[in-house]
C-alpha cells in the first residue's frame, strides 16, 4: 500500500503547496484518500463517519503542512496526524459501541450457510475491537491497518515498540477470551493440518 506511493511526489506536492499552489494538494489527497478513509473506517466502522474523519484529517494536514519536518516520511507524519484527529474526534462524538462482554458471540459451527456464518463471525470480531478499552483499541486498529507492521503502528501512535507490543498482547488476550470458540476452531484446524488422519 504505502510502498507504491511515491515519496518524491509527496515532497514535490508539499513544496508546491507551501509555495502557494493550492491545487497541488489534490495530488496528496488523491494518493492518500484510500489509506486515510480505510484507517478512519477501522476506527469508526461507519462509512459516512470514516469519510468525515478522513476529510478532517486532510484539512488539518493542509493547515499544518509547514510543520512536517521531513525527518520522517510524509506517510508517517500524515498517519500520526490522522490518528490524533480520529482519536480526538471520536472522543468528542463517540461511535456507538457495546462493552466487550456484551459483544455478540460468533455463531456456532457453520452448517448450511457457511459463507454467511463466516461473514457474521468476522463482523462480530471486528466490532468487538471497538468495544475494547481505549488503551488497547487503538494499538489493535493500527497494527492491522499497517498490515501487522508493529514498528509502523508504534510510529503512528508515537509509542515505543515495547509499549505497543505489550498493549497489543493484552488486547489479543482479551479478544481470545471473548471468542474462545474461534480459537478452538483454529486449534482444531491446525491439529488437522499437522496430523492428517488423526482426530483432534
Amino acid at each position: 500500500m504505502n510502498a507504491a506511493i511515491s515519496a518524491a511526489e509527496d515532497l514535490a506536492d508539499v513544496s508546491r503547496v507551501l509555495a502557494g499552489d493550492v491545487a497541488a494538494f489534490e495530488g496528496i489527497v488523491r494518493r492518500w484518500q484510500g489509506p486515510l478513509v480505510n484507517m478512519a473506517w477501522r476506527y469508526s466502522r461507519d462509512r459516512g463517519r470514516a469519510e468525515e474523519l478522513a476529510q478532517e484529517a486532510f484539512l488539518r494536514a493542509w493547515r499544518g503542512l509547514g510543520q512536517w519536518r521531513r525527518e520522517s516520511s510524509f506517510s508517517t507524519w500524515l498517519f500520526a496526524l490522522a490518528a490524533n484527529v480520529f482519536r480526538s474526534e471520536l472522543r468528542r462524538f463517540p461511535t456507538v459501541t457495546v462493552p466487550l462482554e456484551e459483544a455478540p458471540e460468533p455463531s456456532g459451527p457453520p452448517t448450511q450457510h457457511r459463507t454467511l456464518s463466516k461473514e457474521l463471525n468476522r463482523g462480530a470480531v471486528r466490532r468487538a475491537v471497538l468495544a475494547l478499552p481505549r488503551r488497547y483499541r487503538e494499538p489493535v486498529v493500527l497494527f492491522y491497518f499497517h498490515e501487522m507492521d508493529l514498528a509502523a503502528a508504534a510510529r503512528t501512535m508515537g509509542l515505543p515498540e515495547g509499549t505497543m507490543k505489550a498493549r497489543l498482547s493484552r488486547a489479543r488476550a482479551l479478544l481470545r477470551r471473548r471468542f474462545p470458540q474461534l480459537e478452538a476452531e483454529h486449534a482444531e484446524m491446525e491439529f488437522g493440518a499437522l496430523n492428517p488422519g488423526k482426530e483432534a
Binding site: 494538494f25 462509512r47 469519510e51 476529510q55 489493535v140 507492521d149 489479543r172 474461534l182 483454529h186 484446524m189
Partner: protein, 137 residues
C-alpha cells in the same frame, strides 16, 4: 505457523488475527476528493484570522492585575489585625472578622463603591474606544 512482521516471534497468528488482518479495502466515494478540495479552497480563500490585539490589551491587563493586587494587599492589611485580635481574645467564634475601625466608617464604603463604579466606567469607555477603532462598533 504464520508470524508477524518485524520479528515479533511471540505473536503467532490466530484465527482472530486472520480475521482482523484480512479486511477488504474500502474505496472512498466518488465525490470525496472534490469535497476535500472544496473545503481546502474555502480555507485558502478565507482571510487570515484576526490576531489578538496584544499591544492594546497589555495596558488593560496590567491595570487589572494592579487593581487585583492592590485589593489583595488591602484585604491582607485590613484582615491581619482583625485575625490577630481574634486570636488574642482566644475566641472560637465563627463570626466575620472585624476589620479595622477605619473600614467601618459610614462614608468609607461609599468611597469604595464610587471607586469601583469609576473603574468600571473607565474600562467600559476604554473597551468601547478600542473596539470602535478596530471597526467593530
Amino acid at each position: 505457523m504464520n508470524r508477524t512482521k518485524n520479528g515479533s516471534d511471540e505473536m503467532e497468528l490466530s484465527r482472530i488475527d486472520g480475521i482482523l488482518a484480512s479486511e477488504e479495502p474500502l474505496m472512498p466515494s466518488s465525490g470525496f476528493l472534490e469535497s476535500v478540495m472544496e473545503r481546502v479552497r474555502e480555507e485558502a480563500a478565507a482571510p487570515p484570522p484576526i490576531p489578538f490585539p496584544w499591544k492594546r490589551a497589555i495596558p488593560a491587563v496590567l491595570l487589572t492585575a494592579g487593581i487585583f493586587g492592590w485589593a489583595a494587599f488591602e484585604l491582607v492589611r485590613l484582615g491581619l489585625p482583625a485575625a490577630g485580635s481574634l486570636a488574642a481574645a482566644g475566641s472560637a467564634s465563627l463570626a466575620m472578622p472585624h476589620f479595622s475601625a477605619a473600614a467601618m466608617q459610614p462614608l468609607e464604603p461609599a468611597g469604595w463603591v464610587a471607586l469601583a463604579l469609576g473603574t468600571s466606567l473607565l474600562s467600559w469607555l476604554l473597551a468601547r474606544r478600542l473596539a470602535g477603532r478596530s471597526g467593530l462598533l
